[in-house]
C-alpha cells in the first residue's frame, strides 16, 4: 500500500468520528453572542468543513451576514460544502449575505483587513435590518506567511468581548496550533472569550 493509499484509509476512518466532534463544536458556536471573540481548534479539515457549513447555515437562517475566510479549502470546496448542508451558496453570495474571502489576502495584505471589513458589514447589517454579522476565520494564513508574532499581536489586540457587535470565531487547525510555542498558545487562548473544541 502506498503512502497516499494509507492516507486515504486514515481519512476514511477519521470521517467516522468527524460528525460527533463537529456536532459538539457547532453546539458551542450556536451559543455565541454579539461581541464574542472566540477561538476554535479543529482536528482536521473534514471536521472544519462540517462546522463552518452548519454554522454558516444557521447564521444565515438567523438573518445574519456571514463572513467566512478560508485558508485551506478552495472557494469551490467551500461552496460545495455549503451546498451539502442545503445552503444556496451562490445565491447568498450574490445577495451579499455570504462573503467568502481568501484568508491570505484578507489578513496578510493588511492584518486589520478582516476586522475593518467586518465593521463595514455591521453597518450594512444595521442599515438593511439584518440580525448581525457572524465571522468564522481560518487563521492558517499566518502560519503560511510565517508571521506568528504578528498573529499573536493581532489576537492580543482584540478584546475577549469586542467593542463591536461581531460574533467572531478564530479557527485554528490543530496541526498549526501545535506548531506554536506553549507561551504563544497560551497568549492566543487567553485573548479569547471562549475556547471551543470538542
Amino acid at each position: 500500500m502506498t503512502s497516499a493509499e494509507e492516507g486515504s484509509r486514515r481519512h476514511k476512518n477519521k470521517s467516522k468520528s468527524t460528525s460527533s466532534f463537529a456536532s459538539s463544536i457547532i453546539e458551542k458556536i450556536r451559543q455565541s453572542h454579539p461581541h464574542d471573540h472566540d477561538v476554535m481548534i479543529y482536528t482536521d479539515l473534514p471536521t472544519f468543513r462540517q462546522v463552518y457549513s452548519q454554522a454558516t447555515k444557521e447564521a444565515l437562517e438567523r438573518s445574519e451576514i456571514v463572513l467566512l475566510t478560508t485558508t485551506y479549502d478552495s472557494f469551490q470546496r467551500v461552496i460545495d460544502s455549503l451546498k451539502q448542508v442545503g445552503v444556496s451558496a451562490n445565491k447568498e453570495v450574490k445577495h451579499g449575505n455570504l462573503i467568502i474571502l481568501d484568508a491570505v489576502k484578507a489578513y496578510q495584505i493588511d492584518v486589520l483587513g478582516v476586522l475593518n471589513f467586518a465593521k463595514s458589514l455591521l453597518m450594512r447589517a444595521a442599515k438593511d435590518g439584518k440580525a448581525g454579522v457572524f465571522n468564522i476565520s481560518d487563521m492558517g494564513s499566518f502560519f503560511l506567511a510565517d508571521r506568528i508574532p504578528t498573529l499573536v499581536e493581532y489576537e492580543r489586540s482584540l478584546q475577549k468581548k469586542m467593542d463591536i457587535e461581531l460574533k467572531s470565531v478564530c479557527s485554528y487547525h490543530k496541526g498549526d496550533f501545535e506548531n506554536l510555542s506553549k507561551e504563544q498558545q497560551e497568549s492566543i487562548l487567553s485573548a479569547h472569550n471562549r475556547i471551543i473544541s470538542a
Binding site: A4, V104, K105
Partner: protein
C-alpha cells in the same frame, strides 16, 4: 534517452517510462490519487503523500527529479516543507500547486522569502496535459541542477529563451557555488547582453571575472570556426587549456555550455556529429559540459545521428525518441 511526456506529441515510448521520479505532496487524498495515477500513466515514477509530515520523514537527497508541493497544507505547509527538503537536498527542484490565485505583487508582499524559489504556481484543478506542460521546464531545471562532475549531457529546451536562461542558471551554480570556471559558447544573445544579465542577476562584476578567466564568453564562430575553418582539435585544445588553468590556479575545474543551434542554422550537421563524437561521455577531467539544444532541432536528426547523441552523452533530457 530521458523523454518528457508530452500532451501534444503522443505517448512516450514504453522504454522511457519510469525515468523521472517525482515527489507529490498534497493534503487532499483525492487530488493525490488522481495526479499520481495520471503522472504514472505518462511515464513518471511517483512517490505520493497526503500527509506532508510523512513526506519529510521519508525524504532522501538526490532521489527525486522534481517535487510537486501543494502550498496550503495545515500543520506543515508547502513552503515550510520545501525549506526543510532543501536542507536535506540543496539541489532539489520544486514547483507548487494551489487552488488560489494570487497576484505576483501580492505574493512578493506576503511571501518575500519565497519570491526567488516560486517561479510558477500551478492552479488547481489542473488537467494532466496542463500539469505536464507546466512541470516540463522544471524537469529541465532539475536535470541541470543535478549535473555531476565530469558529466557530458544534453538537454533539449523548448525555446531559445529557455535555453539561455537555464544555461546561465547552470553556469551560475558552477561559478558561485562550486568554485568552477565557466564557459558559454552561444550566439543566443550578444555578449554585452550576457555580461549585463550576469552582472545584474548574479550580482558579480562580470568584466573582472572575465578578465581573470573565471568567465569565458565565446560565439560559435570564435569557438568552432576561427579563420572560417572548423577545427575540432583546436576547440578541444582550448577546452583542455581552460581546465588546466582552472586547476593550476586552485579552482575546481570547468563548467561549460555549448549552444548547439548554430550547427543547425548553418547546416553543419556532419560537423556537429563530429564534434559530439570527439567528446567523452564521461570526462576524466573536472569538466561538466551541457550541450544545449532546441527540441525542434533535435527532432530533425535521423536515427544514426540520434544514435551518436545517445552514445556520446551521459544523459539526454527532453528529446523525443525516434520511432
Amino acid at each position: 534517452m530521458k523523454d518528457f511526456p508530452s500532451s501534444s506529441r503522443g505517448k512516450p515510448s514504453s522504454a522511457l517510462k519510469g525515468h523521472f521520479r517525482v515527489l507529490l505532496v498534497d493534503d487532499d487524498p483525492d487530488i493525490v490519487r488522481v495526479l499520481k495515477r495520471g503522472l504514472e500513466a505518462k511515464g513518471f515514477m511517483v512517490d505520493a503523500y497526503d500527509y506532508p509530515q510523512e513526506a519529510i520523514k521519508s525524504f532522501m537527497p538526490n532521489v527525486h527529479d522534481l517535487a510537486i508541493l501543494d502550498i496550503r497544507m495545515p500543520g506543515l505547509n508547502g513552503f515550510t516543507l520545501y525549506r526543510q527538503m532543501k536542507k536535506i537536498d540543496p539541489s532539489l527542484t520544486a514547483c507548487f500547486l494551489s487552488a488560489f490565485e494570487i497576484h505576483p505583487e501580492e505574493f512578493k508582499q506576503v511571501f518575500p522569502s519565497m519570491t526567488e524559489s516560486v517561479k510558477t504556481i500551478i492552479k488547481k484543478p489542473v488537467t494532466m496535459s496542463n500539469l505536464i506542460k507546466e512541470i516540463n521546464p522544471f524537469l529541465r531545471i532539475s536535470a541541470a541542477a543535478r549535473a555531476r562532475k565530469g558529466e557530458h549531457f544534453l538537454i533539449a529546451f523548448e525555446t531559445r529563451q529557455e535555453l539561455i536562461e537555464q544555461s546561465l542558471q547552470f553556469l551560475k551554480t558552477g561559478l558561485l557555488e562550486n568554485g568552477e570556471d565557466i564557459l558559454l559558447v552561444s550566439d543566443g544573445l550578444p555578449k554585452d547582453r550576457i555580461r549585463e544579465k550576469i552582472a545584474k542577476e548574479w550580482n558579480v562584476d562580470a568584466s573582472t571575472l572575465e578578465a581573470n578567466g573565471r568567465i569565458t564568453l565565446m560565439t560559435f564562430r570564435e569557438w568552432h570556426q576561427i579563420d572560417d575553418k572548423f577545427d575540432i582539435k583546436r576547440s578541444k585544445t582550448m577546452m583542455t587549456n581552460m581546465v588546466r588553468k582552472s586547476i593550476e590556479e586552485g579552482r575546481k575545474g570547468l563548467r561549460s555550455v555549448g549552444d548547439m543551434n548554430p550547427f543547425f542554422s548553418t547546416g553543419m550537421i556532419q560537423q556537429l556529429l563530429a564534434w559530439e563524437s570527439s567528446l567523452e561521455k564521461q570526462f576524466e577531467w573536472p569538466v561538466t559540459s551541457l550541450c544545449a539544444y532546441i527540441r525542434d532541432n533535435i527532432e530533425q536528426l535521423d536515427n544514426s545521428a540520434i544514435k551518436v547523441m545517445q552514445q556520446r552523452h551521459n544523459r539526454i533530457i527532453g528529446a523525443a525518441n525516434k520511432k
